[in-house]
């Protein structure tokens, strides 16, 4: 079996479920891969490890990183997108008069993490009129948000709202950025260009096994994957995993739009271009900064893989 | 009677934390205005006695009385020339000498004047601005003497102040010290003085009374009164009183030293 190291961008959680599924139920092994999953974390930066050759595949939050890679000549390319919608969201406490997404621009305080300040916050400012004055740093601690009823906060739609409900005892309003034009792909798999060119068959096996894993995780028996996640991340608990998966399904994070026809992992160049244009408008890039043809390769996805399996698991629904 | 004694040690023991018994049953009485010298072999406890008198140390047994009352810590009007110069290395000589006045809250100009006078007295007038490390051994000691004199204390404790000085300087300072102690030949003494020295001649020349201490543990083993009027000058060193006292002290010191055998 080929030894492969795959790094995520966060501690093990339901949003990585498909990968752990493929590891736990032996799918990767069936594809001749011996996979090690390396967790990330709030201050852990696994990104340089990919071009350095220390890892083979990297899970990436959104396309901005891929744009930056191309812009800075880092020979890395996106090969699949496991999420059709980025779960990035803003959340607010209920009953504060935030009815529409645009109402959030009136919030006095917005808790936003550093990386977001460098990325989609600029887009929110450009397209919706949010202001820097609202900014407060978010260090993945909900206390300040819970303490300030009028504040809003960034949220990973399948994580923080669950915690808020547990801690604050209320269900927060969640506004998914993807529903308001933030059209990036998410939870993409990146590989080195070099690997794609010299060993496309390895990439193909990893992508396909991951797609199988995600189908099984969403629609099949998750128990082994959940057990592995709980083991890797002792702070996680079964109830949260349960709720996260429900949210992923409800919001269509993984499986919606293109993936319904093309299978999980689907990516379309048009959507990549659309997102890039928005980011240019937000001032993050200049037109022509990035050669979009090198951002992603579509050869490993969009082939309907996994649709059959999904049908089998869901009983043809 | 009681009140005429300035300092009294009554059956004083001093046992150090190491277990060493430095003083055992020491009795001493120093009258107001008296000039008393202490002689004794090296390590017999002379410095220990001075520290008790200054209130810097406590007796393990017995009593130390100052003006009839139990001494509890330093009294504040004591000048003390320690056996080592003990100067502040970061300050120049003048600042070092001024220190006691500064601690007593004296204004800057009077401090300065007093310090200059004291330095002049010990022959360091030109070195007021020098740092202590630029002084020779004897000059450091003289700076310490100037510091002890600068406050015009009512009790002056001197622990071998002149040991590092040549005989000429030493004699000069002896006379200067007596001059300060008894400015007018028949007048009252300006302060009480307890003087530790290793020079028998110096002890006799300066004091009204000389006490001899025995080797460890220290006890007072002899007491010689020097019956001669002040001012005493160089000719006193030829007098019979002087020579007799010296002879007697040499002898009792020899007896007191017997225990400290030398290889």
């Amino acid at each position: 079996a080929d030894k492969v190291v795959f790094a995520t961008n966060w501690k093990a959680q339901a949003a990585h479920g498909g990968f752990y599924q493929a590891l736990a139920d032996g799918t990767y092994r069936q594809y001749g891969l011996e996979v090690e999953i390396r967790q990330g974390g709030p201050q852990v930066n696994n990104r340089p490890l990919l071009p350095a050759g220390k890892i083979d595949f990297l899970m990436t939050g959104n396309l901005l990183h891929s744009f930056d890679n191309v812009k800075n000549g880092v020979p890395v390319v996106a090969v699949a997108s496991m999420f059709q919608k980025d779960p990035q969201a803003l959340m607010a406490q209920p009953g504060q008069g935030y009815l529409k997404f645009t109402d959030l621009t009136r919030a006095p305080v917005a808790f936003i993490a550093k990386d977001a300040q460098f990325s989609w916050w600029a887009w929110l400012k450009a397209d919706y009129g949010f202001k820097d004055e609202q900014l407060r740093p978010y260090n993945y601690n909900l206390g300040p948000f819970l303490a300030d009823k009028r504040s809003i906060q960034q949220a990973y739609a399948v994580e923080e709202p669950i915690s808020v409900q547990k801690q604050g005892g209320f269900k927060p309003q969640v506004f998914l950025l993807a529903d308001h034009g933030y059209s990036t792909y998410s939870t993409t798999i990146e590989a080195r260009v070099d690997t794609v060119q010299k060993n496309p068959e390895l990439v193909k096996r990893f992508v396909e096994a991951s797609i199988v894993g995600w189908n099984n995780y969403l629609y099949g028996d998750r128990s082994k994957a959940d057990a592995l996640i709980l083991k890797e991340n002792p702070e996680m608990d079964a109830a949260t995993l349960q709720q996260s998966v429900a949210l992923m399904k409800e919001l269509g994070v993984v499986d919606s739009g293109d993936s319904l026809k093309l299978g999980l992992g689907a990516m379309k160049p048009e959507r990549v271009k659309d997102f890039y244009d928005k980011m240019v408008r937000a001032g993050l890039y200049k037109a022509g900064d990035v050669d979009l043809s090198r951002v992603a390769t579509y050869q490993f996805v969009n082939q309907g893989l996994g649709l059959e399996l999904k049908r089998k698991l869901t009983g043809g629904k | 009677m009681k009140s005429s004694q300035f300092i009294e040690l009554k059956a004083v023991d001093r046992r150090y934390e190491t277990g060493l018994l430095a003083l055992e049953g020491v009795d001493m009485q120093i009258g107001q205005g008296e000039f008393v010298s202490l002689l004794g072999p090296s390590g017999c406890g002379k410095s220990s006695v001075l520290r008790l008198m200054a209130g810097l140390d406590r007796a393990s047994a017995g009593e130390v009385l100052r003006k009839g009352e139990a001494a509890r810590g330093p009294a504040g009007d004591t000048g003390f020339v320690f056996q080592e110069p003990t100067l502040m290395p970061w300050a120049n000589v003048a600042t070092n000498v001024e220190l006691p006045l500064r601690l007593q809250g004296a204004p800057a100009d009077s401090r300065e004047k007093a310090a200059r006078a004291a330095l002049q007295l010990v022959g360091l007038g030109d070195f007021a601005e020098s740092s202590p490390r630029e002084l020779s051994g004897g000059m450091k000691m003289r700076a310490a003497i100037a510091r002890a004199l600068v406050t015009q204390p009512s009790l002056l404790l001197l622990d071998e102040p002149f040991a590092a000085l040549d005989e000429i300087t030493r004699n000069g300072l002896n006379e200067a010290l007596l001059q300060l102690w008894k400015p007018k030949p028949r007048g009252a003494a300006a302060f009480t003085s307890v003087f530790v020295t290793h020079s028998i001649g110096e002890a006799v020349f300066l004091s009204q009374r000389v006490l001899v201490m025995s080797a460890r543990p220290g006890r007072v083993v002899d007491e010689v009164e020097i019956k001669a009027a002040y001012p005493r000058d160089a000719s006193f060193r030829q007098s019979k009183v002087y020579l007799q006292a010296c002879a007697r002290l040499t002898e009792s010191l020899a007896r007191a030293s017997e225990e400290t055998a030398l290889g």
């Binding site: 501690k11 390396r38 967790q39 990330g40 974390g41 709030p42 201050q43 852990v44 930066n45 696994n46 990104r47 340089p48 490890l49 350095a52 220390k54 260090n139 993945y140 601690n141 909900l142 206390g143 819970l146 303490a147 915690s163 808020v164 547990k166 801690q167 604050g168 890797e232 991340n233 002792p234 702070e235 949260t240 | 934390e17 490390r133």
Partner: protein, 264 residues
């Protein structure tokens, strides 16, 4: 002060901090209850202790990981700092040449260089250790160096008189002279290597099983289990205090009887 130190007051030595800490905790608990502060903002000390007790099993494992990194980093920092200071004392040229690098190491934000170290060492635990070491070693170096330079001028002359080799001078004169400085640097480094171990784990986080307290703090914070976060913080603090007490005792033992700072 020496005056106060002349009589040992072991009662106050323990009573005072206990009292102060008790008062602090009581005030904290009272404040939490009086203003009804929700536990996700600031849990009361009782709740924290309860949480600590409940989670002791899982926290103890992480604590041990952090302690191990801390002690290893501290040992390396001590050794490296003293060795470098000694080398500097032996050769001014070496000192002049290497000081800039030592300073740069001290002021480099490890969050920025952690990935680089990661790439070079290819091991998360080595990365954490190196990061913690970077944080802790400078105080030992700076203090030991200052101490090595404080030798009594008279004793330096004595050693010159007997033509002591540089090594002998270092061994028999400079190092004993530097001891009080070194010990003070050690107290600083003790705390720093602990904080270094925590911060390094934040940034270079050894994933998976061998996670230290840093991961627990982050996780708890992330999941807004603030009492648990405080429980982990309490463990970090207690560890820091323990290290400090250890070095206080060491300092008292080594300096007693000859150095002004520790009267017998």
């Amino acid at each position: 002060m020496a005056e106060a130190g002349r009589q040992q007051r072991p009662a106050g030595r323990w009573l005072a901090p206990l009292l102060a800490v008790s008062v602090f905790f009581a005030g904290w608990e009272a404040a939490v209850r009086f203003w009804d502060i929700p536990p996700y903002l600031l849990p009361g000390p009782l709740l924290v202790l309860q949480t600590l007790y409940d989670n002791f099993g899982s926290l103890a494992g992480s604590w041990w990981v952090t302690v191990r990194i801390t002690l290893t980093a501290l040992a390396l920092a001590t050794f490296g700092g003293v060795a470098l200071a000694g080398a500097f004392a032996l050769s001014r040229w070496l000192e002049w040449s290497l000081t800039p690098f030592a300073v740069v190491l001290q002021v480099t934000p490890i969050i920025a260089v952690a990935p680089l170290i990661m790439i070079l060492t290819d091991s998360a635990s080595a990365t954490v250790l190196i990061c913690a070491w970077i944080v802790a070693f400078f105080p030992v170096l700076a203090n030991t160096l200052a101490g090595l330079r404080s030798a009594d001028a008279g004793l330096v002359e004595l050693f010159r008189l007997y033509r002591a080799s540089r090594w002998q001078t270092l061994r028999f004169l400079l190092l004993p002279t530097a001891l009080p400085y070194f010990l003070s640097g050690l107290k600083v480094a003790g705390g720093l290597s602990l904080i270094g171990a925590v911060v390094a784990e934040f940034t270079a986080g050894a994933a998976g099983r061998n996670t230290g307290l840093a991961s627990r703090i982050l996780e708890a914070a992330f999941r807004t289990e603030i009492p648990k976060m405080f429980a982990a913080l309490v463990l970090v603090s207690l560890t820091g205090v323990a290290i400090h007490l250890l070095f206080e005792a060491l300092s008292r033992r080594l300096l007693r009887g000859w150095h002004g700072s520790e009267p017998r």
